[in-house]
Amino acid sequence: MKVKILFFASLSDYTGMKNIEMEVPEGITVEKLKEILTEKFPRMATAQKSIMTAVNREYADGEQKIPMDAEIAFFPPVSGG
C-alpha cells in the first residue's frame, strides 16, 4: 500500500527531503517503517531515540499499525512558542 511520509525540522535535514511517497507492506507498524527509513537514510539513526511519529496528524507509538493511504510524519520533540 502507498503512504505519504513527511519530515520536519532536523529529520528533514537528516533525510534531505520534506516528503516522500512510499510503497509499504499492509499492516506495517510505525516501528518497522522507521527501521526501513533508517536503512534508506542512515543519518536518521543519530536521532533515533527522539523521533516523534504522527499518523494522520495524531501522535502514534511504535506498535501502531499504519492504515491505508495514511499520512505519516517524523519529527523531533516540538520547540514552538
Partner: protein, 152 residues
C-alpha cells in the same frame, strides 16, 4: 453569549490589540496575555547571541493541536471567556513577538492567569512547531524534551 476561541499558525506579524478585542465580551473584566519574544542575547551558562529564529510548523496538525490546547483550557477553567492562541512562523528577529496567548474572564481571580500559563506550557509540549536558532557561530534546531503519549 458564545465564548470565542481563536487559534492560528500565521506568517503575519502578531496584532495584540486586535486579538484582545476579538476575545473581549461585554462581561469581560480581565485579559491575561503571554507573549514569547525572540531573545537576542542569552546570559548565564549557555551565554550566546541569536541572529534570528526560523520557525517551521506541521501546519494542519499544529492547527488541530492548538484547538486541542484551547479545549483543554476550557475544560479546566470553565470561567475563562475568550481564548486566543496564535503562533507566528517564518524568520523572526530578536525582540519580535513569536506567540500570543490571551485568556479573558470576568475577573482576575478566576484562574485566568493559570489558564494563560497552561496555554503556553501545553503549546510547547504538543503543538508541532520547531525553531532553528541561527547565530554568528552557526545554526541548530532547538528540540523540546516532552514526549507526547499516543493520541495525546
Amino acid at each position: 453569549m458564545d465564548h470565542p476561541t481563536i487559534t492560528a499558525i500565521t506568517n503575519d506579524a502578531l496584532n495584540l490589540d486586535a486579538l484582545i478585542a476579538q476575545v473581549t465580551l461585554p462581561s469581560t473584566g480581565a485579559a491575561v496575555v503571554f507573549s514569547g519574544i525572540v531573545r537576542g542575547v542569552t546570559a548565564g551558562g549557555d551565554a550566546h547571541e541569536t541572529s534570528y529564529l526560523e520557525y517551521e510548523a506541521y501546519q494542519p496538525m499544529a492547527e488541530k493541536k492548538l484547538r486541542q490546547v484551547a479545549e483543554e483550557i476550557r475544560s479546566r477553567w470553565p470561567s475563562v471567556e475568550g481564548i486566543a492562541i496564535v503562533q507566528r512562523i517564518g524568520r523572526l528577529y530578536p525582540q519580535t513577538p513569536t506567540v500570543l496567548i490571551v485568556c479573558t474572564a470576568a475577573h482576575r481571580d478566576t484562574g485566568v492567569f493559570e489558564a494563560a500559563r497552561y496555554g503556553i506550557d501545553r503549546l510547547k509540549e504538543i503543538v508541532p512547531v520547531w525553531k532553528k536558532e541561527v547565530s554568528p557561530n552557526g545554526e541548530f534546531w532547538v528540540e523540546g524534551d516532552y514526549i507526547p503519549r499516543s493520541g495525546e
